[in-house]
């Protein structure tokens, strides 16, 4: 059948059905009225992850990398299979570049505390952006204090776009590291990571990318991005809490000293000296969250099953719908998020404190995050105490945004009038 020129079908609409996907998430069976718009803080869990973890404990569980018995071997296989899934998901070159950690926060602290003191000297500089989460700010601030380095902040402009020219001007021969988010958890701004990496590498600086908001909703290829480190949290990609990933280029990881020490990460121990394993095991001291890693692997399977291109297109369309819908409500100010904003929409209602908005929305069964979103310097820049933030997941659709808008209207009626 010839395609009609009059009907333009959005690719995201083909086979992508958020209402059907909701059925995969038991939380919506328990709470059918719930409009969940806080996936940026933590995503809900699909049945395959919840049941898969229980099944792993029932069938394949033992400690990893330790036992000679077959059950331990099977558990180890499941654990390492999850590592391979993460490698493939990020298109890393080698699965030894994937370190399992507790979350993005731990991944960043690992780099700050292992790589940092080994390669940073007094007078060196670390560049971050002004839309960073505290977790990609405070560890670098502490490191700078520790070694006498300087923290430099690259700005976003009034439209919420990352200012590449200003960034380039801030790079100096003393820049050792650029640590930036892929997508802002407050504004939804997408940063031009490939260009940032090119400019930083030209100065000999390494680049760490906080991928927490990007990994759940767009294809991420660490080799194409060219970054040295990429981190994300499992619980934001529909996986279990307490899991996360540090990707590091092998040469970078291999040049880093051990961080936490203990069992599972040594090659030999004598009272006089200890030799450590190669990456990734060098950075995985102690019994890891085995079932968590397995669950994370299942979450990535879930995302691949839905399709990252499809998720990206769906959330992009829905983000646009939300911005448009909210902008039309009088007294509502949407925080700018640049041209490629994805999944995150922050806003304020004039004269109404975000916490009051949050309480009213909660009464309408609309779950959003309110407050400073772990980004106080950004709140200061925006001149607000906090914002109301709606963030999307695969289960959201236009009806959810309509319910959000209606609840915001109810809030206006109560407070503004």
């Amino acid at each position: 059948m010839a395609a009609s020129p009059l009907r333009i079908e959005r690719p995201a609409a083909r086979g992508f059905d958020p209402r059907a996907l909701r059925g995969e998430f038991p939380i919506f069976t328990t709470h059918p009225e719930l409009v969940f718009l806080d996936s940026g803080a933590s995503a809900q869990k699909p049945r395959s992850v919840i049941d898969g973890i229980a099944e792993f404990y029932r069938s394949d569980y033992a400690n990893v990398h330790r036992g000679v018995y077959s059950l331990s071997a099977r558990s180890t296989d499941r654990f390492e299979e999850a590592r391979e899934k993460v490698r493939a998901f990020l298109n890393a070159a080698d699965e030894r570049e994937i370190v399992f950690v507790r979350g993005a926060t731990e991944a960043i602290n690992l780099v700050a505390q292992s790589w940092g003191p080994a390669y940073l000297k007094a007078g060196d500089e670390i560049v971050i952006s002004d839309v960073e989460h505290h977790s990609n700010l405070v560890p670098w601030q502490m490191l700078c204090e520790h070694v006498g380095a300087r923290l430099v902040v690259a700005p976003t402009d009034a439209t919420g776009e990352f200012d590449l020219a200003a960034f380039e001007a801030l790079l100096t021969p003393r820049t050792r590291l650029v640590a930036v988010t892929h997508i802002s958890n407050v504004t939804g701004t997408q940063l031009p990571i490939e260009r940032i990496v090119q400019l930083a590498h030209a100065k000999g600086a390494k680049v760490l990318v906080d991928g927490c908001q990007a990994v759940p909703r767009m294809p991420v290829d660490v080799q194409a991005l060219g970054c040295d480190f990429y981190v994300f949290s499992g619980h934001k990609v529909y996986g279990p809490t307490g899991t996360g990933v540090l990707y590091g280029r092998y040469d970078a990881l291999d040049s880093m000293p051990a961080w936490q020490t203990g069992g599972g990460m040594i090659s030999s121990v004598e009272y006089a000296e200890t030799t450590f394993l190669e990456p990734p095991h060098r950075f995985e001291a102690g019994t890891p969250d085995i079932a968590g890693a397995v669950g994370l692997g299942l979450a990535l399977d879930f995302i691949e099953g839905v399709g990252r291109e499809a998720i990206s297109e769906h959330e992009q369309a829905l983000t646009g719908y939300a911005v448009d819908k909210l902008s039309r409500i009088p007294d509502v100010q949407v925080v700018p998020g640049g041209q490629h904003r994805l999944s995150v929409v922050s806003f304020n209602v004039d004269g109404v404190h975000p916490h009051d908005v949050g309480t009213v929305l909660d009464q309408h069964n609309v779950a959003v995050r309110v407050g400073h979103h772990c980004a106080q310097p950004l709140m200061d820049k925006l001149g607000v105490a906090g914002t109301v933030r709606a963030s999307l997941g695969v289960y959201n659709d236009e009806a959810d945004i309509d319910r959000l808008a209606a609840a915001v209207e109810a809030c206006r009626e109560m407070f503004v009038r």
Partner: protein, 159 residues
Amino acid sequence: MSDSGMDLRELYQDIILDHGRHPRNFRALEHPTHLARGHNPLCGDRVTVYLAVEGDRIADVSFEGRGCAISTAAASLMTEVLKGKTIDEARALFAQFHATVTGGEAGETSEALRDDFERLEPLTGVKAFPVRVKCATLPWHAFEAALKSGLAGDTVKTE
């Protein structure tokens, strides 16, 4: 999701909305004898409470800061009932209010303070909204800190 099962108007009664929009005694005192700041790190709310104590009596009381409707109204109503009270009466009112909103043992209100406590009644709707209780108690904690710190200007944080 809400599990309070309560109407929003129980929380945001007209008197709360009114005091939230038009807070009374919203200024710094020129010659305070006591002051302290309250800070809720969760939401970034800040309040500064000023007292002018003469003898054992609160001659004047005011506040400044930024916060939600609940914390602003709580501070505003607090300043209204505290003015002219003795320190002991003020502490008794706080104890009664705190116990009521946190679900503790309230004890008996003395006859003399019953009218004052009734003025605080609209704020007790927060007890059905546990995450908002701290908004209502923040200015009172700042008041108590001011009594203790004099002009040193301590900062109390919500726990």
